[in-house]
Amino acid sequence: MLYPRPLEALLYELEKLPGVGPKSAQRLAFALLRRDAQQNDDLAGAIRDVKAKIRPCENCGNYTDVEICDICASPKRENGLLCVVAEARDVLAIENSNEFFGRYHVLGGLFNPLEGVGPEQLKISEMIGRLGPEHVEEVILALSPTVEGETTGSLVARALEKHGVKVTQLARGLPFGGDLDYADQVTIAGALRGRRELG
């Protein structure tokens, strides 16, 4: 069945979103059609804003709408404790565990030669640059327990070798192969508590 062109365009765009199949795209599109114009304008505005105003924190790479994110700027955060994650969305997963009160460093990906991601593509030297000024004593590697995550972990650990900081890794509460941002809060909290020093 053929839809009028504007509806067809909306369905086409919605279906590109993660987790949205043809059925849910239809449901969403018809729901949007039933709402008032103002509500839809607000939604469209929010979608535009998120791309225009959100950017990586210049210190840690977390999402922010200012130069330095709230976590980096907060005096309540523990100095000396740095949690290294692959992507900005992982910050959220760890924040939700309510178990970590230090600061973060977002690498911007995981070591993956097949996708052309080598050490140069990851923000490792930026992390090294933070050690002194922020008096970092412990770096926690919070990376997915996957081939990419483990190899990235040893890359980061090797870069930290000469800097005299303690390097720890999330405990193996997380089974091999799963992605970090899909672990639940309790599992992440447990893995943080049980973190082990890398030998």
Partner: protein, 272 residues
């Protein structure tokens, strides 16, 4: 998953070449098996830490897969891991080599049986996993490259000049031409693009590697006993020959070259 009349279940041993996220919870695997060669299959729920297929749906895993033919893609219904090659993950040099090998296999045409290709890949991943140091990793890597070159139908001609077909004597100077596909004599070297002057030691080693069923533990020790310099000639010759025939399309090559250079400088890869 609903069973449809059209679904034909099948089972095969296969190596996971790649495992990319698919939607929220799944991964799409590129598999390489003796019977089917390269093919793709969906591992449902594999991104979730609780997913039954999470550990299987990782690169370089060798497993026995049960699959069902889906509407557009095959679907993994069950998997039994033979080995995860546990010493590859966490090691930058080994992961770089395994990625490069995966990419070679990934260049194979879809769905064409390839028992020999699978055997080479299986032996290589096993050797890589068990390599204790840098020289063992290098030996395994160069073995894989020479094997894959021959497997792809480009086994270099060694000992004869590829251009004039004359036998090159033991005391003669010789060159290697990657595009020409083998050794060149002094007279013919000018007819080829960027031939490299090589020693007969390195070329003999190449000839021997191609005919060995397993990688040697080291290229420096007997029976190869190659000098540092001859190892370099060998490594460059094989890699250049492989690149010529693959039109240089290797995404993982840059990372591999960097990792090899770093490990070479350190004299040893830090095996963590």
């Amino acid at each position: 998953m609903p069973r449809t009349a059209a679904s034909v279940p099948f089972a095969t041993r296969a190596v996971v070449l790649r495992a990319r996220p698919l939607g929220e919870k799944d991964r799409i695997l590129t598999l390489f098996s003796p019977e089917r060669g390269k093919f793709s299959a969906v591992a449902r729920g594999a991104r979730s830490p609780k997913g039954k297929l999470a550990a299987t749906a990782q690169p370089f895993v060798l497993a026995r897969f049960a699959l069902a033919t889906g509407r557009s893609l095959d679907i993994v219904t069950q998997a039994q891991i033979e080995t995860m090659h546990p010493h590859i993950a966490g090691n930058v040099l080994k992961t770089s080599w395994a990625s490069f090998a995966s990419e070679c296999a990934d260049h194979a045409p879809e769905g064409v049986a390839d028992e020999h290709g699978f055997a080479v890949l299986e032996v290589f991943l096993d050797a890589l996993d068990n390599s204790p140091d840098f020289s063992a990793i290098e030996a395994a890597g160069v073995w894989f490259q020479s094997q894959w070159l021959a497997h792809s139908g480009y086994a270099p001609t060694i000992g004869f000049c590829v251009v004039c077909e004359r036998k090159i004597e033991a005391d003669e100077e010789l060159w290697f031409g990657p595009l020409a596909g083998g050794t060149l004599c002094r007279n013919c070297r000018g007819t080829q693009n960027s031939p490299e002057r090589v020693s007969s030691d390195s070329m003999r080693a190449l000839y021997r590697l191609e005919r060995s069923r397993r990688p040697p533990a080291s290229l420096a020790d007997a029976p190869f006993s190659l000098s540092e310099r001859a190892q370099g000639e060998l490594a460059r010759s094989v890699e250049r020959a492989l690149l010529v025939h693959a039109d240089g399309r290797f995404r993982s090559l840059g990372t591999l070259q960097d990792a090899r250079a770093v490990a070479h400088l350190e004299g040893n890869s830090s095996l963590s």
